[in-house]
Amino acid sequence: MTVLEQRGSRNENYWPAPPPAWRPRVDPEPLLPDAEPYRLLGTDAVSRVDSGLLTELYGHLVRGRRYNAQATALTRQGRLAVYPSSTGQEACQVAAALVLEEQDWLFPSYRDTLAAVARGLDPVQALTLLRGDWHTGYDPREHRIAPLCTPLATQLPHAVGLARAARLKGDDVVAMALVGDGGTSEGDFHEALNFAAVWQAPVVFLVQNNGFAISVPLAKQSAAPSLAHKAVGYGMPGRLVDGNDAPALHEVLTEAVERARRGGGPTLVEAITYRVEAHTNADDATRYRTDDEVEQWRGHDPIALVERELSERGLLSDAFAQQVRDGAEELAAGLRDRMNQDPVLDPMDLFAHVYAEPTAQLREQEAQLRAELAAEAEGEAGSGRGPAHETTGKERP
């Protein structure tokens, strides 16, 4: 008998029956993702996509691209400290937002401003983190959008906890949690998936696999057959989808959201897409990838793919295309104008939101800063003296 044969055998005398608390093993087969990413555009199945949905997706994609371009331009003008663009990934962003109902929650990362905007968040509020005037510019409960999260994958367990809390309260809420390919290596990703599966929490995890974590390609990130395969080990279905095919994403995510809503538990969706721009405006992508590669992916552009289908259906009239472009320009112009106004900041806010009640120590520090600001203002008002911190010890009483 070979070792392998031995492994397969079961000696009843040696191996006792598992205690009742052990759950029967789940059959992994139905949880496994397809070998190829799921597609609708360019296949016969596209005919079942509703024309209304196609035009809606198209409008959002075009606006999204323009939004990304405008935000990147704002970094060059020094209006934004940094911008991680989602150009090329708009289909993921838009689909993730559109499949949610009003009461559902979105858990975005720093790259997912567009998803937040597609969900209805004011584009300027979505950018406060990246502009640097405050960390989160909006009330998360008002829009049911968690703060844009910078430490990778750490928002995923929040999504699980929130979804579970909602379920415990009897509320019909699904959480959509976004993460990048690099983020799937973090411990929080694994813990979140495990908790979600054990609790059967109504969560959808969407991995936007855009090929790189800053400069590190997926091959150096993970040895898994696909990122979607990771679902099986936790006991949830994994789905693999073309992340540039907006209707395919919309369908797969809708299914996952409905499954979660029905009490069917979490799903892990891996969307294969590509980051056309550099990691952020501060990154030089030519150090880790070729122009050829980028060009190839430009040929598989999410907007062009929908455009093609719309024109084949005769739905892309000049007037309609113009109307969509005008809408996008209007968004960009509004963003530009408002971002060009300096934000009004109150330094006293530094102490206002640390605790419900500022501690005695914070009150002291607040008084200190207030005095420093007053001295600074007095200095500026023409006394000839510089700001307080430049005075010498001798000038003090």
């Binding site: 367990p157 411990g187 495990n194 908790f195 501690t359 120590q361």
Partner: protein, 344 residues
């Protein structure tokens, strides 16, 4: 701690039982309170602090989680975001470390990053400290890590009544509280019985446990009984020591601490955590800055050595004991050779 409750025919309870009672009362009063952690369900926690809660409130309100501290804290953040008040148990001090990412990056600053729109009412119970013969990773005093993180409140009871009162206050707080439970006091009994009125212990308020006039011992948690013992022993040397129990390390009660030190003119800070970078340094600095002209001697510290927590058979050499406290108190007498003596 006297036996008056026994005399009155009532049963004094242990700190562990008082904590259990506090959880039970908080859960009964507010359906938003959920207890979660490793083994907190049927087992009732490895220290039995959650004993019986699953029977009374069901698995949804007191449930076993998978074994993952970051996951426990991270999901508790999401639950708090949706309006629940999770009370999380970290099994032992040193096993909370995998959760620090969530604690520091999210728990501590959710209110701040959302400009107050999203407070995070979350209580993190951490059994801490040594003296119970625990093996490696079961005896850390981790309070300095928490204290270094703005946005967290850090409290630790030293008496049975405070265990109840502080835990109720922690759960009621709209901000996250790291609730440090001195595990070697879990089985200490006192004169509080659940038949008595519920004790009240507001966060941020220190308490004088023994009034005195010659010096203040500033301490908290597991070191309080040691300081009380030292104060009694010191009377033989003619010292009348005041013993101050901080109870709350953040918010910090400068007022009570400074009033005491101004009265006595001398202070020793006592804690189990390592001295270097420990809370004692911060406390000594605050006292010096505020009470300099009242001080008859430098503020001294008695702390654990600057070593990883030692194996149980050696821990008594590491933990601040009565003798070490008395030796230090002796050094408070300002003498010509003091500076020399302090060079050790």
């Amino acid at each position: 701690m006297t036996a008056t409750a026994t005399e009155a025919g009532r049963k004094p309870v242990s700190m562990a039982q008082a904590l259990n009672r506090a959880l039970r009362d908080a859960m009964a009063d507010d359906p938003a309170v959920h207890v979660m952690g490793e083994d907190v369900g049927e087992l009732g926690g490895v220290f039995r602090i959650t004993d019986g809660l699953v029977k009374e409130f069901g698995e949804e309100r007191c449930g076993d989680t998978p074994l993952a501290e970051a996951g426990i804290l991270g999901t508790a953040v999401g639950m708090a975001m949706y309006g629940l008040r999770p009370v999380v148990e970290m099994q032992f001090d040193a096993f909370a470390y995998p959760g620090f990412e969530q604690l520091i990056s999210h728990v501590a600053r959710m209110r701040n990053r959302t400009r107050g729109a999203m407070p995070l009412p979350l209580t993190i119970r951490v059994p801490y400290g040594g003296g119970i013969g625990g093996v490696e990773h079961h005896s850390d005093s981790s309070e300095a890590y928490y204290l270094a993180t703005p946005g967290l409140q850090v409290v630790t009871p030293a008496t049975v009544a405070d265990a109840y009162g502080l835990l109720r206050a922690a759960i009621a707080s709209d901000d996250p509280v790291v609730f440090l439970e001195p595990k070697r006091l879990y089985w200490s009994r006192a004169d509080w019985s659940p038949d008595d009125p519920a004790p009240v212990a507001p966060l941020g308020r220190a308490e004088i446990r023994r009034p005195g006039s010659s010096a203040t011992l500033i301490t908290y948690g597991p070191s309080l009984p040691v300081c009380m013992e030292a104060a009694e022993a010191a009377t033989a040397e003619g010292w009348d020591l005041e013993v101050l129990d901080l109870r709350s390390l953040q918010p910090f009660d400068d007022e009570t601490v400074c009033a005491s030190v101004r009265r006595t003119g001398r202070a020793v800070v006592v804690h189990e955590a390592s001295g270097f970078g420990g809370p004692g340094g911060e406390i000594a600095a605050r006292v010096t800055e505020r009470c300099f002209h009242h001080l008859e001697a430098p503020v001294l510290r008695v702390a654990g050595f600057d070593i990883p927590y030692p194996p149980p058979m050696l821990e008594r050499h590491h933990l601040p004991g009565v003798d070490r406290i008395l030796d230090t108190v002796g050094r408070l007498q300002w003498e010509a050779d003091w500076t020399e003596g302090s060079g050790d």
